[in-house]
Symmetry: C2
Subunit: 315 residues, 2 copies
């Protein structure tokens, strides 16, 4: 097969050995694979793939067709259309997927949105609901709301009856984010002013985060998923105590496969039906051939996109 | 009645009008009232009493006998022995207690330990179990473990089957804290070295807190209750994310009465039986007459005590 391959900090499109499914693995012919900020960090050498994943082939999510199965596979067969989060290796013609992480793709959903679905919607679902306990009427702030996880979070929160304030740096993207279900999309400082919030989903990081803590209401939660703009938070514990507030932080990628399976089952049950019905949709800002990953990565790094950049196979 | 009274930053023992119970309030003849670090802060003018509490009479907890009841009181009568958390006003001959916050005192428990029970054990219970979700086999670090909340937390955690490491600054107190159920009581730096922990109960605050975050295991929780040694935390969000860790912070005093009632019912159901059976005991480092609160406050401020300082009525 050919695969996007990281060599000396650059992306190449080269031949690699075909992966062989064992145990409960599916071998999937990749039709589409989303790009994520973690890929940019991995390319710069700062975020190695977890053990058991290809060290040099990036890609955390994919959609494709099952072409072979390992001897312990129970519920899938050749020809199934699946999408999944993986530890790495998704940006290739073939990739291995643990059966327990695979989600079926609704008939109404094409390969490109399916390839950009797993990471953004699983991350948003886990952060908002499993960690942040978002519910009907909660006031939510999403920072970096125009990105992949942000556009997923705005849609899921609106579908759950939350009142969403979206913090969006690029003026051109604000009306689009409001169209996804945000009550208001504002520039970052104004968005903070719109508090208090019951939940803040932090996808940016950096110096404004300390202010976000002060905008939490009693019992408020801050869930930190992205810290591209800065990893350190000068946390005012008195402000946190007087609000009885909570700070959560997590990544999906480092979790063991049984925990990823748990997330996949929750997303398949609660979110995929919204995708099937059209209540939520994967926002795709651009698609590139798998063999032109370099240009796609540059597009993501440049920012200002609404939603995801997705690589697609030639087939 | 006479009451401990704050005037110009000093404590006096002076006549005050008798409080009159209305609604669902109990009038209680105070037999004992514990002192807490919050009282020291209030004396310095930095922590005013919440609305509805006497502004100048300190005291967050008491034990005593019901001597009159408001017209909406349903479940208590004159003569009942009760203990309770209150918003303020406990350090006086008479005090008002919301019926919903009152807990019955087991026959086997005297006035002095009952007067030092509510704040320490309610705070420890809420922090460890309601917030921190402590369970069987969890590895717990308690900082400041020799104090009132600390000694309560060590006993409750041991009773729940957790493995407790106690951080105790005073060498003289370490064997005593181990006798309460800690697997090990160590000086603060060594205690941190004993990680990783599933839960850290932070009762001290200050610069070592950042290191505590790095000692959390996957899914670990940091619950911040006391920050006497420093209110700011330079939080490494990457460390938090890679551990999928959570930071909680809270105080009991500022909560509305219906939430205090909820805590009281949980403590009455789950903790008071441990007190009645002798499985847990209020550690009392010293008792002083109500009229000598100044000396008692100095004793608490000096530190190095095992457990609580309690004021007792002359009667």
């Amino acid at each position: 097969m050919r695969a996007v391959t990281i060599r000396s900090g650059e992306l190449h499109w080269v031949d690699q050995p075909d992966p062989v499914p064992s145990g409960s693995e599916l071998l999937v012919a990749v039709r589409a694979a989303g790009i994520n900020p973690a890929d940019l960090i991995q390319l710069r050498g700062h975020y190695p793939a977890p053990p058991g994943s290809p060290p040099d082939i990036p890609g955390l999510e994919l959609a494709g067709e099952v072409v072979a199965v390992g001897p312990r596979v129970l519920q899938h067969q050749v020809g199934d259309r699946v999408m999944a989060l993986v530890g790495g290796g998704a940006q290739a013609e073939l990739a291995l997927v643990e059966e327990s992480s695979a989600m079926g793709i609704p008939e109404s959903v094409g390969w490109i949105p399916a390839g950009g679905f797993p990471e953004a919607f699983s991350t948003a679902y886990d952060a908002l609901f499993t960690q942040g306990r978002l519910g009907l009427g909660d006031r939510l702030l999403v920072t970096g709301a125009a990105g992949g996880v942000g556009t997923a979070a705005v849609q899921l929160a609106a579908a759950a009856g939350a009142r969403v304030t979206a913090s969006v740096r690029s003026p051109a993207r604000r009306a689009e984010v409001e169209a996804l279900g945000a009550a208001q999309a504002l520039e970052p400082d104004q968005a903070l002013e719109a508090g208090p919030f019951d939940l803040v989903l932090e996808l940016v990081g950096g110096p404004k985060l300390a202010e976000a803590v002060r905008r939490l209401d009693q019992g408020g939660r801050l869930v930190v998923i992205g810290v591209g703009a800065g990893r350190s938070l000068e946390l005012d514990l008195s402000a946190l105590m007087s609000r009885r507030a909570q700070v959560f932080a997590s990544t999906l990628r480092a979790r063991p496969s049984f925990e990823k399976a748990e997330v996949a089952r929750a997303v398949e049950k609660r979110v995929v039906p919204l995708l099937a019905s059209g209540r939520c949709a994967v926002q795709v800002a651009g698609t590139y051939p798998l063999g032109e990953a370099g240009a796609a990565y540059q597009r993501l790094a440049a920012g200002g996109n609404l939603g995801k950049i997705v690589l697609a196979s030639a087939g």
